[in-house]
Subunit: 273 residues, 2 copies
Amino acid sequence: MDNQQLFENIKSKKSFLCIGLDSDIEKIPKFLFDFPDPIFEFNKQIINATQDLCVAYKPNIAFYESQGIQGWESLKKTLEYIPKDIFTIADAKRGDIGNTSGQYAKTFFDTFNFDSVTIAPYMGEDSIAPFLGFPGKVVILLALTSNKGSQDFQHFTDISGKELHELVLQKAQEWANPDQLMFVVGATQASYLSKIRNIAPHNFYLVPGVGAQGGSLEEVCKHGLNDQVGLLINSSRGIIYASDKEDFAEAARIEALKLRDQMELILASKNFI
Amino acid sequence: MDNQQLFENIKSKKSFLCIGLDSDIEKIPKFLFDFPDPIFEFNKQIINATQDLCVAYKPNIAFYESQGIQGWESLKKTLEYIPKDIFTIADAKRGDIGNTSGQYAKTFFDTFNFDSVTIAPYMGEDSIAPFLGFPGKVVILLALTSNKGSQDFQHFTDISGKELHELVLQKAQEWANPDQLMFVVGATQASYLSKIRNIAPHNFYLVPGVGAQGGSLEEVCKHGLNDQVGLLINSSRGIIYASDKEDFAEAARIEALKLRDQMELILASKNFI
């Protein structure tokens, strides 16, 4: 899926919401354990309840991997269940080199048929290049994350005042065009967004941290929108764990709808729709 | 396993060799496809042929993950097969935060019972902290890697002349003691090793890049040894793919023995043995 297609989907759904499927066996409603694959059943019901409200789903791979073989089966079924016009993100934060990265690319793009995968930049171009050989697939590179530890290294500054995350944004654009490359930019650091948007004007950003982590949707949009919207706002726990009872899917829909409604207002105010 | 135990194993085996189990379904000898689990059979024969010559095995997780469910089964059997006195490294280069990192820790330390796992530092302390809650387990943090792309970000330099990888070495030592924390330091950058050893004197380093990638064992040892040896020299392809015929395990033994013999000379010359 290229940026133009994603933009069209955003306009038609009036939403740039990404729902994070951080489906934790210890947090899903207990009645789901009566089903043969509780994690898949949870995801299926969440997808049924929200698929008209979001343009992307982002399974957090750690939660599947930690369940061993059963987890990979739940993930595979989930991917097959997500409607094909919805952008899928493997939140795996992989970062390796050469043939190893090639193996990861094969896993997520071939075996599971994800549209995109999140990648860590520390090892440089070698971590990204093997993923670019898959036509139509997208690398989502960590730039400025929303967690406390983002302060440890991502703001490391050179003599010219350039910060590490800015160097990442610059260099990566030499390696891939905006249809192949998105960036993770945390909502909790909205004050940096204008500068980041100047450095990477044409890329989509995957934005975690709105809601539960304290980031503001309005602030993010004020500084982060581009002429194709250019933002995928992720919410995970705030939606999928809105209730731990039998009504969890309806509760998820209500929370997703709140965000979608805010997004619709923003899209209308900026004349996208 | 703490550093002292590892040091004792090194002295008794006269080796600080780590063998990388980058067991690629496309590269293993074809006759192994007659076995029900070709990857496990490959690893088993490599382990049988080399376990007296090395102190660590490092499965490269990408090669297992890319095989889907079958790959995780091969990995689990491999881990169970490795003798318990040999240090095991999950080369996974994970880097996430909070409960996600907690899930990865659970996968590698509980589900698979690895002794250690490689971690990427980009997201800061949050990526490492959840792994430190497992007594006796070790985090191996990427510092200066051996690949070409290490030039892209790891040498980014602040106004005082400090490079990013040096900041990683410094900060991480505030988070974990040397028994819980090793660093990846590539052999291809041996000129940096003296400076790195000054910054992190007591930590073990996992050193890829000797041999196939052009790093010199002598140079690495000259600058990198500490009073507990402090180095695990990794070789993967140079050993496990020494032959693609039925004699692959014997050929692997011959290559491992060459490295072990060089290591024995170095250990003797430094009066470790």
